[in-house]
């Protein structure tokens, strides 16, 4: 019995050790702590890493220039593995670190779960790329990217108003929130723009290597344009399989297609003529983009995608709002949130992903969608 007691004692001690010290959300004093959450491991790691790196560049630039209101930023990024439960864990870890502002999360489903927590704790949240509607359902949450419905509607409007095509086939990922979200709104808006959806073919995350059936159906239905509200990995397969099958419609995509030219072993000539709505093109000639792309390439050895640009903008938007709101390093997260959410609706920011971006109090951004076409292996603005 004695041994049993000592064993129990050991268990108790172990638990106490694990529990660690308690956390509170008061500021530490001399730095402003900005936390980031996104997937840096697992299937969606491309996006998480881009956001992590893009934001890091912005943080370094701001700190080198003297910080926000003279206060240096401290930046920490936690992994969520593109999983809602892990995202909440990541958020709690950042809370223990005394985070004052949250830049995240990168992907939609985890973002919705985290938004629920930031609302509870009243922490200011700015997501660079969480595009589903409920990501910003509370007044403390804002986003840099377009929401999924807006992308779907904007795509339909662009195709309709510019008379790109009237018979459209859609190939989308029904198991993905982003993809099915865009498709739904596109399908709803299409009739208003005189677009006929002749085929709507779905695939799922478990079955995304062979698209011949979907392409064949689109071909048989006589589609002039194939709308691809999907990510670029699948799009490269669709492009090469369509090429083999001798099907050459116009391909049109959203921001998920950004990055298609950077895929290894992909014949970029197949992407010739692909049109996409994206707020960011890495080879744009303006100074801001050129500088960002150069720094990113030097530091991380690759061309930044739209996610990196969104994150870079997010940090600068936080800076602008914090300066407007007069945020000090010793304010706690809740006080910062209160000041920032008013300031967000008053600022206008010129960033990589749009000029003169403004925000409404429901968290949506106002900026012009840009359409680009791939010509001679580079993005050209339309």
């Amino acid at each position: 019995m004695k041994r049993f007691t000592s064993l129990m004692l050991a268990v108790v001690l172990g638990a106490t050790l694990l529990a660690g010290c308690g956390g509170n959300s008061a500021g530490s004093g001399d730095t402003l702590k900005i936390g980031g959450i996104g997937p840096v491991t697992g299937g969606a790691a491309v996006y998480g890493n881009a956001v992590k790196n893009g934001a890091q560049i912005a943080v370094d630039e701001i700190n080198a220039a003297g910080g926000i209101n003279g206060v240096k930023i401290e930046y920490k990024f936690e992994d969520d593995e593109h999983d809602a439960e892990k995202a909440v864990n990541a958020y709690n870890t950042l809370k223990d670190w005394n985070m004052q502002i949250l830049m995240g999360t990168v992907t939609s489903a985890p973002c919705v779960a985290v938004t629920e927590k930031t609302k509870e704790d009243n922490v200011f949240q700015l997501t660079p790329s969480g595009s589903s509607v409920p990501c910003t359902q509370y007044d403390n949450a804002f986003r840099i990217c377009f929401s999924d419905p807006n992308q779907g509607i904007a795509s339909a409007q662009y195709i309709g108003q510019n008379n790109v095509a009237s018979k459209v086939a859609v190939i989308y990922d029904s198991s993905d929130v982003y993809s099915s979200g865009i498709y739904e709104k596109f399908a709803a808006e299409a009739p208003n723009q005189g677009i006929e959806i002749v085929a709507a073919e779905a695939f799922t995350a478990d079955n995304k290597t062979d698209f011949t059936t979907q392409i064949q159906k689109a071909k048989d239905a006589g589609a002039e344009l194939v709308f691809l509200p999907i990510y670029y990995q699948e799009a490269t397969l669709i492009l090469s399989q369509a090429n083999t099958m001798g099907f050459a419609p116009i391909f049109f995509g959203c921001d998920g297609l950004d990055g298609i030219l950077g895929v290894e072993n992909f014949d970029t000539s197949l992407a010739e003529g692909v049109m996409l709505l994206t707020p960011f093109a890495a080879d744009a000639k303006d100074d801001l983009t050129a500088k960002f792309v150069k720094t990113y390439q030097e530091k991380y050895g690759e061309v930044p995608n739209q996610f990196a640009a969104d994150a870079y903008d997010a940090i600068y938007v936080i800076k602008a709002a914090a300066e407007k709101a007069g945020v000090k390093a010793d304010m706690d997260a809740s006080a910062i949130c209160e000041a920032m959410k008013t300031a967000m609706t008053q600022i206008s920011v010129d960033g990589l992903t749009g000029a003169g971006m403004t925000w409404t109090s429901d968290g949506e951004v106002n900026k012009a969608p840009k359409a680009v076409v791939i010509k001679d292996g580079v993005y050209v603005a339309l």
Binding site: L7, G42, D79, N89, N92
Partner: protein, 355 residues
């Protein structure tokens, strides 16, 4: 005499859970618990229940199930669906959550029976593969399921949200791949621990019941069990259904802990099924207490390793391999036999008995 010893062993298991609960509650009450751990308490309960539940299938029934996350998925979606519909009618969160848990357990048990009827006729590897398939089927069906509610009642579609044809006041509850958003946050650590104790109580008592002994007899020697007149299909199905309903309860707890519920490969796919199997194997097949502890360790470990940033998942895998090797070595077996709390109490008696 024998019966008393078994019960004492069980009491230690309950004791560990209760001690864990008391310590965590005290730490939480005195504000000494970090936010990370506060957030981890409910997931801990979820995975511990899952481990107990799968151990019933793998350890007691002796059949390898690779689709256990499917039952968790069914429980999660059925309970979240109920809560979403009843959000306005039943305002007491505890009452609503208890009903939701019961629904999840019943629905998951029904699925367990439906799937069990064809699956349990198979044996060994075949059974494992078929359960794997069923787990994936459940996940994929949920991903194309659209359910909405308006004044006319409930609309169901397998195509897309637009084809639900809902009225003006319609609200989509299950939106295909986007799942259920806005589930009320009803899960608490206390309810989680109560569910864990209920699961332990059910499984441990089942093991020492007549039916449980029949199930174990089937596991140990099917032909011998059949020859003494045990109805193989009935007992197998019974154990499988209980296991499924416990997994459903864990699913309800999971669903009401997060505001979003999607059926992704990560949380309800085979990845999760394998993860739960890892808890069971690490804790010891057939060892209920071991699997609870293993589930707790493996849930907390990746969070404690956050400090290692980029190397986190790499180190986690290495630690996992290390633990598996350690746990299966004969030296570790000896060490465990020496220091196991159950053994410590009844050690001298067992030695005498053996002699």
């Amino acid at each position: 005499m024998k019966r008393l010893k078994i019960n004492r062993d069980y009491l230690i298991t309950y004791g560990i859970v209760i001690v864990f609960y008391v310590i965590m509650s005290i730490l939480k009450g005195t504000n000494n618990l970090s936010s990370l751990f506060k957030g981890l308490l409910v997931p801990l309960c979820v995975y511990m229940i899952m481990a107990v539940s799968l151990n019933l299938t793998v350890g007691i029934l002796g059949e390898l199930s690779l689709g256990h996350a499917g039952f968790m998925c069914v429980g999660a979606f059925s309970s979240a669906f109920f809560s979403m519909i009843m959000k306005d009618s039943i305002t007491n969160p505890i009452v609503r959550f208890i009903i939701a848990i019961i629904i999840s357990a019943v629905v998951a048990a029904i699925f367990g029976i439906l799937i069990g009827i064809p699956v349990l006729r198979l044996r060994g590897d075949y059974l494992a593969i078929v359960t794997l398939a069923f787990g994936e089927i459940i996940k994929n069906i949920i991903n194309i399921l659209y359910v909405g509610k308006d004044a006319d009642g409930i609309h169901v579609s397998f195509k897309d949200a637009a084809s639900l044809g809902m009225g003006e006041d319609g609200k989509i509850i299950i939106n295909g791949a986007q799942g259920i958003t806005g589930t009320p946050n009803d899960s608490t650590f206390t309810i989680g621990i109560i569910l864990l104790i209920i699961s332990l109580f059910i499984v441990l008592n089942f093991m020492s019941s007549r039916s449980g002994r029949a199930v174990m007899a089937i596991r140990d020697n099917r032909i011998a069990a059949e020859s003494i007149g045990i109805n193989i299909s009935k007992y197998k199905l019974m154990a499988f259904a209980i296991s499924a309903s416990l997994a459903g309860m864990a699913g309800a707890l999971y669903a009401h802990n997060l505001a979003t519920l999607n059926a992704l490969p990560k949380n309800f796919g085979y990845n999760m099924s394998i993860m739960i199997l890892v808890y069971v194997v690490l804790g010891g097949i057939g060892n209920i207490r071991g699997s609870v502890i293993a589930a707790a360790i493996l849930t907390v470990l990746p969070e404690l390793l956050r400090g290692l940033s980029d190397y986190r998942m790499l180190i986690y895998s290495i630690v996992l391999i290390g633990m598996m090797l350690f746990n299966s070595s004969s030296k570790a077996e000896q060490w465990k036999a020496k220091f196991s709390p159950a053994k410590l109490i009844k050690k001298h008696k067992t030695v005498k008995e053996a002699e």
